[in-house]
């Protein structure tokens, strides 16, 4: 897929200036909206007020923990849910890509469940897992699982046929074909899938933490809401955004590293 710009590539200086201008414009609009009195100040705090609150949350505890500790709690749940989704989803996708029969059986199920929001699983999570970490993990898993499977599947399905044929003529078993031909060839697709999966999983976190009531960034958000503290709510949102962005940036870097290594 060629990437060609309508306008020419910008010099990094111009790019930098424009990016900074963009951010400045964003904060400018925010500050203007807050200061203009369009919305009552307690419902649209200025960027500075939110920053102050954010910093305060990292130093003093709110509902039992500091902001970092809440984030750590949430990240733990996310890691478990995402890890499980990847560990089960990627192999499943590869198998589905190879065994047409399996694909025919599992795909319809997938199509049916695709539209069910992770948050809809919350009642069942409470019913089946109660207080354990299983509850939030189920919700995060339901968000993270589909992209892992779909991308592994696509990677395996659309591998260059001649590689597969070559392996088959050499008498490779199913297992070897999957692990030594399909898997390496699907890596770019799998990693792209992991990126989407991580994003969806992290987003499902807030929904997952609706059934948890002792720690986590989603919990902090709801308690801030109940306290009529919009600054706390926005701090929570920013924290979620920053971590989500960091996770995505990390995976993107991995994606680029892998494609560079493969000479793409």
């Amino acid at each position: 897929m060629t990437a060609f710009a309508i306008t020419r590539e910008l010099s990094w200086q111009r790019r930098f200036v424009l990016s900074v201008a963009g951010i400045a414009a964003f904060f400018g609009v925010w500050w203007a909206a807050a200061a203009s009195g369009l919305v009552a100040p307690q419902f649209l705090p200025t960027p500075l007020a939110v920053l102050e609150k954010f910093v305060a949350l990292t130093q003093t505890t709110f509902v039992g923990y500091t902001l970092q500790q809440h984030l750590a709690s949430s990240f733990g749940r996310f890691a478990l849910g995402f890890g499980l989704a990847a560990a089960i989803g990627v192999p499943l996708g590869l198998l589905m890509g190879w065994f047409r029969g399996l694909d025919a059986i599992v795909s319809p199920l997938f199509d049916a469940l695709r539209f069910v929001a992770p948050i809809a699983w919350v009642p069942f999570a409470a019913l089946w897992f109660g207080t354990g970490i299983g509850g939030p993990v189920l919700v995060i898993f339901s968000g993270s699982f589909p992209p892992c499977v779909i991308n592994a599947y696509r990677g395996a399905r659309y591998v260059e046929p001649r590689f597969v044929e070559a392996a088959q003529t050499l008498g490779a078993s199913h297992w070897r074909i999957i692990t030594e031909v399909l898997l390496p060839a699907s890596v770019p697709s799998i990693v792209a899938g992991l990126r989407v999966s991580a994003g969806l999983g992290w987003q499902s976190l807030v929904g997952a933490e609706l059934i948890v009531a002792s720690s986590g960034i989603g919990y902090l958000l709801v308690r801030g809401q109940a306290n009529i503290s919009t600054a706390i709510v926005m701090s929570g949102m920013i924290a979620i955004g920053i971590v989500g962005f960091a996770i995505d940036a990390l995976l993107r870097r991995m994606e680029r590293y892998i494609s560079r290594r493969r000479g793409l």
């Binding site: 009552a40 307690q42 419902f43 709110f62 509902v63 039992g64 009642p123 409470a126 019913l127 089946w128 897992f129 109660g130 207080t131 354990g132 609706l210 059934i211 948890v212 009531a213 002792s214 919990y219 709801v222 308690r223 801030g224 809401q225 109940a226 306290n227 009529i228």
Partner: protein
């Protein structure tokens, strides 16, 4: 030299054995207790744990907290907890769905569940309750707040179809009312105090005003209660003692309440905290037995309360048939506490 080593070795062995025996005798039985954070009736759980009263009776509690009654009830299905406290409405739902027993009353929270109106509109509604017709009321469905609000509507002769009821969590209700996007809301304490203090909202009718008794319930899983009746009785004894202490030591009680509420993200004034104590009666052992007592096959006072609540939930469409009170409300475990002199004395201690 060899004798010295032998002496030391035997001393060490004896010491270890003694420690082992001591540890054995101190072995505590685990019991899983559930509740919701930053609520008045959950305070005794916190206090009892801080004071080490569970250990005194040989119990080691594992606490789990839930954001609301419904997920708490749902979690009992997977045996996540054995005993706990909740509002009477979720407790009734639990009785119908998962055979949860109600074994005691946490408090009378009729005053603490109320219909609030925003500062601007409160006076108007108080002067003319009929003007509530056609309004939107935001409340949390299937909760004690829901029950209190609908009881108030009944008191004013307003039918459910005369108003628009929107259901959402307490946090959403607070957001909606504080930003002027909803004028009427059903809340329970301490959210009522948060609204009053931070936005000037006013409580225009509580369950008490509407003549509806809104109790809080102590619950136990039926299976667990059958397997471990002694632990259930001990759990009750600790809870009762905690209330005795709280009622006898107001200043320290307020201090502990402040810490407990903060843990749950609630900060209200001391005056409001004191109000919780004055407006929400609690029951000691003798009083619990009295209100749960069934005279000669008739109904107890508690039965009457829960029957009304069951009828309310049935009318709401939560279940097709409301549960018979005698089927899930039992004073068996309170009676066990009363019958055991050690437990009885323990439950009545105020220190």
């Amino acid at each position: 030299m060899r004798r010295a080593i032998a002496a030391i070795a035997s001393a060490v062995t004896l010491g270890l054995a003694a420690a082992g025996v001591a540890a054995q005798s101190q072995q505590l039985t685990e019991i899983k207790i559930s509740y919701q954070p930053a609520l008045y009736w959950a305070l005794p759980f916190y206090v009892a744990e801080e004071k080490g009263w569970y250990a005194e009776l040989g119990l080691k509690p594992a606490f789990s907290t839930f954001p609301a009654g419904v997920p708490q009830i749902a979690a009992s299905a997977s045996k996540s907890w054995d005993v706990g406290g909740a509002g009477s409405v979720p407790a009734t739902l639990g009785a119908v769905r998962y055979s949860l027993l109600t074994i005691g009353i946490t408090n009378d929270e009729s005053y603490g569940n109320a219909l609030l109106a925003t500062a601007k509109t409160a006076d108007g509604f108080v002067k003319n309750p009929a003007s509530i017709k056609g309004q939107t009321i935001v409340l949390t469905a299937n909760s004690t707040g829901d029950y209190a609000v609908q009881s108030c509507l009944t008191k004013w002769g307003i039918r459910k179809s005369d108003v628009t009821i929107k259901s959402m969590g307490q946090a959403e209700i607070i957001s909606a009312m504080s930003s002027g996007n909803a004028d009427l809301g059903g809340l329970w304490a301490p959210n009522t105090y948060t609204m009053e203090e931070k936005t000037g909202a006013k409580q225009i009718c509580s369950g008490q005003d509407a003549g509806a008794a809104v109790p809080g319930a102590l619950m136990a899983r039926a299976e667990y209660a059958k397997e471990q009746p002694q632990n259930v009785a001990k759990f009750l004894a600790v809870y009762l003692r905690a209330w005795k202490w709280l009622n006898a030591h107001q200043p320290e009680a307020i201090a502990m309440m402040k810490k407990f509420y903060e843990q749950g993200g609630v900060t209200i004034s001391e005056a409001s905290m004191k109000k919780e104590f004055t407006t929400r009666p609690t029951y000691d052992l003798a009083q619990q037995l009295k209100i749960m007592n069934r005279p000669a096959g008739g109904a107890s006072e508690v039965d009457g309360w829960f029957t009304k609540i069951g009828a309310f939930m049935q009318a709401n469409g939560t279940f097709p048939e409301s549960p018979a009170a005698y089927k899930f409300i039992t004073d068996e475990y309170m009676k066990m506490v009363d019958a055991d002199p050690k437990l009885k004395a323990f439950a009545n201690r105020a220190d």
